[in-house]
Amino acid sequence: MLGNLIRLDLLLGRRVLALNGFLFTFWFAFFLWMGGPDVSVGGYIVLTSVMSVFLPVTVIVREGKFNAAALTCSLPVSRREIVRARYGLSIGLGSCLMVVAITVGLLCPWSHLAVAKLVAPKALLLALSMIVLEVALLLPFLFRFGWIGIIVLLIVLQLLGIVALTLTRLLGHGTAFGLGIKALANALRSLYANLGDPIFVAVWAAVLVLVTFASCALSTWLYGRRRV
Amino acid sequence: MDQILEVRGLDKSYAGFALRGVSFSLPRGYIMGLIGPNGAGKTTIIRLLLGLARPDGGEIRALGLDISTNGAIVRSRIGFVHEAPSFYLHLTVAGLASIVARFYPHWDATVFRRLASEFQLPLGKRVYALSRGMRTKLALALALSHDAELLVLDEPTSGLDPVFRRELLERLAAYIQDGNRSVLFSTQITSDLERVADYITFIQGGQLVFSTTRDEVKDRWGLVKGGLELLDEGRRFFRGIETSAFSFTAVTDDVEAARRRFAGREVVVERASLEDLMFYLSRARAGAATGEGEGSPPGRGRDS
């Protein structure tokens, strides 16, 4: 049943998928061209994985635009299955686009990324971690508020970004925001470093699975209450 | 009896559809129902009447003027109410009225305000927040507020409940009270027309089937139901037949002749509703019944 649901979203959203897929790929290449030599593998992975999750989001969000949730929910499926299928779709599609991002990183003539590091297991695990975390964060919003929720979230994140930048520039690095941003950067750096250590990876994988299930349960609860 | 609307030999064809030689006229002070299956050409006729498209042949005279030359004047004196009013949805009711007002020289704001209160239209509310019924009432209020002499309604009541529909019919009847104004009312809900229409124009496959008074339709057309053995005898009168295992039902445009022909026999002859006419004549058109098939108009297209 999950396969049918994933197929439903992919097939009905195939045009949007193709268009955005192409745009993202173009953007990856453009980012590498702009960044030039000082784009680090870690940085590239983090950025492209954050971007990749928005491809499945644009496919899933279409349902809200056409009020087609009533159609999907009228099919012989439970809300839980719909939510699970969309988590699978998001992680799957996000990962596919990451593969594209890495390929772009490898093939692009103007890419300065170290090939060995780009395809190292650490990098792939980092990408997967970013995708899983982002899916766990975004999808509850998507299921509760639909496409408006995502747009609101994006706007809020961008505003936070701008505020953070201005504050750090005006007040120097001491501000809470500055510390917040720095802490986030450090966390990512240490995560990236530890991903080489198998024990850490095992623990981290368990954490990711737990986070996904928690987010999935939350989304199922939210989607169950949604007035279609 | 001067005619507020005269349509003569109207031709219009485009992708896979053709309006051929449609003629009918609507005298002042009456309501004309325009009926016909989906895709028969009703909306095309209305678009031609409003100058939204140009006819390939024939002529339309409205309010005594030829619309091909003075379309703007004619349109300023026609009120148009259509199924999905494509207003600017984000505007408020009052805001929209003020915009529409600029297009009509005889716009009367007091009339609009009176109608808006009568229809309980919230002036401050956004159009997109109005219910379907409210939007139709808004469209009607706008059409009635610029002293229009001809009201043209294209499927205004689809999806609306009988209470609302009856209220609309009462308003249309009131609109023609002064004997000077007329209504052209295109709808699929023919039971509404049976209540208020004075004339019925029936269009099928781009051609006129008939355009005559409601009473003449009632008197001349009828349903004949009989045993299958009587079918052949009556073919001459029948214009559309549907057979079931236990009897046939046919529509005829000469119900008196059918009564005489089958007098004393076990036959039911009764009045045909407009819906019956449309249903059984579509059977004729589908060639399922009589040899002559095509619903050729019964001679007198226009009724003086």
Binding site: - | K225, G227, S244, F246
Partner: protein, 125 residues
């Protein structure tokens, strides 16, 4: 079997069906044992509701004109001869009663009516 529904007539549709089936059984058009269409087939053919045809058949069964054999369908019941004769006599009585009512409205007296009847009987013999 022939059934004609008059939407404009005051009597309910199930009565019209029952009456027409009864008259065809009495007149012999529907001999004993003929199988009748199911209530759903009749409803589909006449484009009316299933409950209407069901009521018609229930009334016919109550009056012994038809009986429905579970699973195999509905058939015209065996009409014993005098039961049938009695039914047809009732039909004649009804028609005469109508004639009398009609005559009374025209002010025709009983003897004038019987004179007309003798005349009609006379013509046939």
């Amino acid at each position: 079997m022939k059934i004609l529904i008059a939407n404009s007539s005051p009597d309910p549709i199930y009565e019209q069906i029952a009456r027409q089936v009864k008259s065809q059984i009495i007149s012999g058009d529907l001999p004993e044992g003929t199988s009748l269409p199911s209530i759903r087939r009749l409803a589909q053919e006449l484009q009316i509701s299933v409950i209407t045809t069901k009521r018609a058949y229930e009334e016919l069964e109550k009056e012994g004109f038809i009986d429905s054999v579970g699973g195999k369908g509905t058939f015209v019941a065996a009409q014993n001869a005098d039961f049938l004769r009695e039914k047809r006599m009732k039909v004649v009585e009804e028609r005469l009663a109508q004639a009398v009512d009609e005559a009374r409205t025209l002010g025709i007296g009983c003897d004038q009516l019987s004179e007309m009847l003798r005349l009609l009987c006379g013509e046939e013999s």
